[in-house]
Symmetry: C2
Subunit: 197 residues, 2 copies
DNA sequence: GTCTATACTAGGATAGAC
DNA sequence: GTCTATCCTAGTATAGAC
């Protein structure tokens, strides 16, 4: 599958690593994740990860920035899609839930970023990402609606992060909460969110 | 201030340590926090922290459980306080915001717990705590309202955790989001939350 | 009940070869 | 562009004294 001549361009490698790192940081947290795990996940050596990003911190920062960019793009697509008969709110909500299902890591590592707001290097990046998303939201809805939207997003993130999704400790209340939070692929909840605007 | 004979009962010590640990874990995260920092914050030696709790993991678990218990108690008080002319929703919301202001650590370390849902030892504890709070909420309001309430709580946590509170990167949009999220000591938002029930 | 000393491991980062 | 070897620090946990 891989010969000893598996040299691929640095740009592509960086993207591979960022992808792997997004998963690893999302699951283990910034401090809990190791550059070695990231390397393993990306199929390369640990020193090479450090080589390409300088430090673990820098790698994490780029992961957070990439996550924000991804969310931003998904939002843009949802906003632009005015063919749909739905309102912007639900369209964005649906896009977000889709993203969640496709790539948990993005949301999880972004959350990890938020929670490190105290950190002098990471904090500013996380706050900037958060506010960029909020501001884009505000450009298509009023403050109250945007706030509720962010709140809903944070709940979704928490439910996923805490692994309540897995129904491991299955409980009818969990089901109810999920039904209410996501509806059928977001459902009532996000509908309600938009009709509040 | 402290003589060499500062022996205090273990129960009290445990509480002191839990308090310190709540702050430290809240700021640095589970993996990022060290038992040594906790020890310093509690004014004792690192090995003694380990001695009293067995492992760092166990200490963290007790921190999370304590955080949930604290929130639970604040909720009970708010629910019982039917002298107030306010609805339950806003009362609980207000109690939560009060708690936030008094002790950030509780919310932050609880959040750290949620985000470690993957962890086989911590995950179950975090999920249990989350659901206990949700269920108590459900006992005084309907599913939709309870969900929105949790969402609002997660947003509050995120705003605090990401340190947007500090206005470091001050931005008028941040102010707006805060005004909207907290109102004046929670305001409109939570009021709106309850009138949805 | 609490400390000092210490064993042991893990993990980030560097050097330098290929 | 990528690896192996390795340094060095930091951090959990244990042993054992007081």
């Amino acid at each position: 599958m891989s010969s000893s001549t598996d040299r691929i361009p640095a740009t592509e490698r960086r993207e591979q690593i960022l992808e792997a790192a997004t998963r690893v940081f999302g699951e283990q947290g910034y401090a809990g994740a190791t550059t070695d795990r990231v390397a393993k996940a990306a199929g390369i050596s640990q020193p090479y990860v450090v080589r390409l990003f300088g430090t673990k911190e820098q790698l994490f920062i780029e992961v957070v920035e990439r996550a924000c960019a991804r969310i931003g793009k998904a939002m843009e697509r949802a906003i632009a899609d005015d063919a749909s008969e739905k309102e912007v709110g639900p369209r964005i909500g649906e896009a977000y839930v889709d993203l969640v299902q496709t790539d948990r890591g993005i949301l999880l590592s972004l959350m990890q970023g938020f929670i490190l707001g105290q950190d002098p290097a990471i904090g500013p990046v996380a706050r900037k990402g958060f506010m960029t998303i909020y501001e884009r939201m505000r450009s298509v809805m009023d403050a109250e609606e945007a706030m509720r939207f962010m709140a809903q997003g944070m709940l979704i993130n928490t439910l996923i992060a805490s692994n309540l999704t897995e129904g491991i400790d299955d409980d009818d209340q969990v089901d109810e909460l999920f039904a209410c939070t996501f509806g059928d692929k977001l459902g009532l909840v996000l509908e309600g969110l938009s009709k509040a605007g």
